[in-house]
């Protein structure tokens, strides 16, 4: 997911298509060269790659059996030892295995929620910027309303009302965290739409759909991408928060869920640090990695940021 993903398929014939492909390859290479200069971004990327690898290979390394309570190998709340490097949880399950297994849910929910949130934000932002008038006013007032609502409280309310499942959590986070993206995208849309080529496209008979998808969307895409990367870390934190508050699906292992289990089992007051610290650190590290990447992407794609670095 580097630069824009919209193929200007309107161009006729294979020639222009090949040209476009070339241009995109060049842009990607340019992007990578720029990105490479951000050391923090590279560190973030490396950490993310590591976590992605761990999450994707989890079925091979630990397997879903690690989450089984009936076959738990250890004693409840057993401390770290050779067989259990991070100790055991309240059911006697291997915490290291759970940590690895939980990364799948945490990352998945984080990514899905971020995509949902950014998709809603982009849709609202582009349409509000494009149509203006009463429609834009209405949309922006809705955005403002969501903006002033405390996100977490709204997400808790949603997660409480709906059934407890991963989908609910994704929805609760996605539906509550889009307003910032909408505002950003709208501003960019307004800027793009005031350029002369949009006027020309309109004069040549380009409709709303054409203008929004062929001209505005590719131009706001860098912003959207950067925003999405940043949003993932927020979503992972929100997921952990909701799970910690007991609003997740209790039978699914996630980092936030582990923290909630630890708290319920009384691990905080009895000082069973091995139950609390690893999931907490994992959340912090992944969120940090996404933020580092997001910042780097942002400064590469947004000419007004980071040029001097």
């Amino acid at each position: 997911m580097t630069t824009e993903a919209t193929p200007p398929a309107a161009a006729p014939g294979p020639g222009p298509r090949a040209l476009a492909r070339q241009r995109r390859r060049r842009a990607a290479a340019h992007f990578w060269r720029q990105y490479r200069t951000h050391r923090a971004g590279l560190v973030g990327l490396a950490v993310l790659a590591l976590f992605a690898l761990v999450a994707l290979t989890a079925p091979l390394t630990v397997g879903s059996d690690v989450a089984s309570v009936t076959d738990a190998p250890g004693r409840p709340l057993q401390g770290p030892s050779g067989a259990f490097p991070l100790g055991a949880d309240r059911y006697g399950r291997n915490l290291l295995g759970l940590l690895v297994w939980g990364s799948r849910v945490s990352l998945l929910v984080g990514l899905l929620a971020a995509v949902l949130s950014v998709a809603i934000g982009a849709l609202v932002g582009i349409t509000a910027g494009h149509f203006r008038g009463p429609w834009a006013t209405l949309l922006m007032r809705v955005t403002d309303w969501f903006l002033v609502m405390p996100t977490l409280v709204l997400a808790i309310a949603l997660a409480t009302v709906m059934s407890r499942s991963l989908g609910t959590v994704v929805l609760a986070i996605g539906v509550t965290s889009w307003p910032t993206t909408a505002r950003l995208v709208r501003a960019q849309t307004l800027a793009v739409e005031s350029r002369p080529y949009i006027e020309r496209a309109k004069a040549l008979g380009g409709g709303h759909w054409h203008v929004m998808t062929r001209h505005v969307l590719p131009n706001v895409m860098p912003l959207v991408l950067a925003q999405a990367t940043l949003m993932v870390s927020l979503s992972i934190l929100s997921e952990a928060t909701l799970a910690f508050l007991g609003l997740g699906d209790p039978s699914v292992v996630s980092w936030g869920g582990l923290l909630q289990d630890a708290r319920e089992a009384g691990a905080v007051s009895s000082g069973d640090w091995w139950y609390l610290v690893p999931p907490g650190l994992a959340i912090a590290v992944v969120a940090l990695a996404f933020t580092l990447c997001g910042r780097a992407v942002e400064s590469v794609l947004n000419p007004r940021l980071g040029v001097t670095r």
């Binding site: 009936t70 808790i156 209790p250 009384g266 691990a267």
Partner: protein
């Protein structure tokens, strides 16, 4: 019988006396908000759990400095109502116990009936007329004398006003007439003999106060303080989910309590309550998790009390909820009405593992219905009757009953659809969730699907009958009448719109006949035998599957409480007793004053540490922002 309480944590605790539904309702939706405040960043939780304590309102602090001896108890279960006519949860019935004296009390040693408001009682020859001698010279907390008329008014109100019978109606259902011929004489005439006449767990309220109440169904007794009472403590303040404050009744006939004030302080988070106990901010915490109990056991000045509980922890099956008028309610899965299916489900439950892993030994294996602590009534299934753990037999039963596995390995019902049940659990109860996980896996191996439906407020689906299976639990009184009565047809709601006393919509003619016989049986041995037969019948029905009798695991500070009465005296619990013994008997420790100082030091240090951390974060953020701004220029 009542509601489970859970102490700070989502730990169900022994319910108190009057019926409360345990399961349902133990907590409202509020934990999220409170916890939220403590939250902010998931990684910051350790810090927040500690910080939550100093931030909590501590109403009693001010008075404590005037040299009053204050006993602070951490509680978690919300109060449903402070009106003795309405309250059913353990938290509120325990408070009612402290506010109002009953006719008779249970001896803390061996549970036999001892004088309470009544000094003597005797039945007529036909056992249909009971005469109680009411204590003379005792006074309400506003100075008015307590007379038999107050008691008569209380009972008559419950017999005539349906709202007044909400909580304790089962005790007066069989009363024909209650009169007070003189100030010290109360006469109760019965329709049929009633075995519970020396165990009437009904708080007696002052007529001169309560006769002014217009609508008992809406009056929660929590507006004007102090509330006139005659128990060991007088209610002087209440803020929902924040605190309940009571002052010692210096004129209490059994002797004034040694503490001047008793404060029930709310901690919705178990670890926060334990942290407060460690710092001496509260003197008593109940409902500890095994991990908390273990870590507190090594702590100086703290005593952990781990005693057999008076509660059972069960898996209730929706028998097809019905109202008394026969209307079906709710949407319980009809396949659960097949006794073979219920038997198969329960035979796949390994109770021993639950005791070992979930309760970590702080519970006793559940078999019959009443906990072994009530030895006279304790019953366990015979060998051929018992549904022991045997997954192979369970699978065989299902095969024989025609619940075949489909291509995906799931059992299908008579309608060809896979069997999939909803299991109602308390979102705030870690035991429910943990046991739910085990059930899910055990039943999954059988080919039966389970969805854990963990809700903050389970009352609504529970009362509406919209569940298939549910976690259930009640505290049992020394006289088991109440917990037995909640499974009779009479307890069903009159119509689907009404609320009944029923626990789980069970209605069985054989059981009801036995219930009527035991209630009319005055001979203790014969009554105990009938009660055992009832438990046997209930067990065979398979709608109430008791899994465990959880212990009461609680801790108190020995540098604040020198002595406190457990009930029963040997290996007994402190919180949620069948009486006011614990809080009435508690003696302050001599060093109480000095430990108060260290508390406030702890709070000060905590606040300063928190402020330093916050300042650090703020400085860091400011610095960050400044650097970004520079970069942007």
């Amino acid at each position: 019988m009542s509601a489970r309480v859970r102490l700070g944590r989502r730990h169900p605790e022994p319910p108190g006396r009057q019926g409360g539904r345990t399961g349902r309702e133990r907590r409202g939706a509020r934990p999220s908000v409170l916890r939220l405040a403590a939250l902010t960043g998931a990684s910051a939780l350790t810090l927040s759990a500690v910080l939550a304590t100093p931030l909590n309102p501590s109403p009693q602090q001010a008075e404590a400095e005037e040299g009053k001896k204050v006993l602070t108890v951490a509680v978690a279960q919300s109060v449903d109502s402070l009106s003795p006519f309405l309250a059913t949860r353990l938290s509120s019935t325990s408070i009612n116990r402290l506010m109002y004296e009953y006719l008779t009390d249970y001896d803390p040693g061996d549970n036999h009936a001892v004088p309470g408001l009544a000094t003597e009682w005797k039945p007529s020859a036909d056992k249909l007329t009971w005469t109680y001698t009411i204590r003379s010279g005792a006074k309400w907390s506003d100075g008015k004398s307590i007379t038999a008329k107050d008691a008569a008014w209380t009972f008559n109100k419950m017999m005539t006003d349906e709202a007044a019978a909400t909580a304790n109606g089962s005790f007066v259902a069989n009363f024909r007439k209650v009169t007070a011929p003189s100030d010290t004489e109360l006469v109760v005439e019965l329709k049929k003999p009633q075995a519970t006449m020396t165990a009437l767990d009904v708080p007696i309220v002052p007529e001169h106060v309560w006769s002014k109440v217009k609508d008992l169904s809406k009056f929660n007794n929590d507006k004007t303080f102090p509330v006139v009472g005659n128990g060991p403590y007088v209610l002087t303040g209440y803020k929902p989910d924040s605190y309940v404050r009571m002052e010692a009744n210096k004129t209490f006939w059994r002797g004034a309590p040694k503490f001047d004030e008793l404060v029930f302080k709310y901690y919705k988070d178990g670890d926060a309550a334990v942290a407060a106990l460690r710092k001496g901010e509260v003197s008593f915490v109940s409902g500890l998790t095994p991990a908390q109990a273990d870590s507190l056991a090594h702590q100086p000045d703290i005593k952990v009390n781990d005693a057999p509980g008076r509660r059972f922890y069960a898996l209730a099956v929706n028998p097809g909820a019905r109202a008394k008028d026969g209307t079906r309610m709710g949407d319980g899965d009809p396949s659960l009405r097949d006794p073979r299916l219920r038997e198969a489900l329960f035979r796949a439950v390994d109770r021993k593992t639950l005791i070992d892993k979930v309760f970590q030994g702080h519970a006793v294996d559940g078999e019959g219905y009443l906990p072994p602590r009530f030895s006279a009534y304790f019953w366990k299934p015979s060998a051929e009757q018992e549904r022991g753990y045997d997954p192979a037999a369970a699978a065989r039963l299902l095969d024989e009953a025609g619940y075949k596995k489909n291509g995906e390995g799931r059992r299908t019902g008579k309608d060809g659809k896979p069997l999939d049940y909803r299991l109602l659990c308390h979102a705030t109860d870690p035991n429910d969730k943990a046991v739910g996980q085990y059930l899910k896996e055990w039943w999954g191996k059988l080919g039966i699907g389970v969805t854990l439906d963990c809700l903050d407020n389970v009352s609504d689906p529970w009362l509406a009958g919209t569940y298939d299976l549910a976690f259930d639990g009640w505290s049992v009184n020394p006289d088991p009448d109440f917990v037995l009565s909640i499974h009779t047809c009479d307890a069903l709601p009159a119509t689907p719109k009404r609320t009944g006393a029923t626990d789980n919509f069970i209605c069985d003619k054989k059981y009801d006949a036995l219930y009527a016989r035991q209630l009319a049986e005055y001979d203790p041995a014969r009554r105990a035998d009938l009660v055992k037969q009832m438990q046997s019948r209930l067990y065979d029905l398979g709608y109430m599957n008791v899994m465990a009798y959880p212990n009461a695991v609680e801790a108190y500070r020995t540098d604040q409480i020198a002595h406190i009465q457990t009930m029963p005296a040997k290996a007994g619990n402190i919180y949620g007793q069948d009486g006011y013994w614990s809080w009435w008997s508690a003696k302050p420790a001599a060093s109480d004053g000095s430990s108060d100082d260290s508390d406030s030091t702890g709070v000060v240090i905590g606040v300063i540490a928190g402020a330093v951390v916050l300042a650090g974060i703020a400085a860091f953020l400011t610095y960050r922002r400044r650097t970004t701004a520079e970069d942007r220029e």
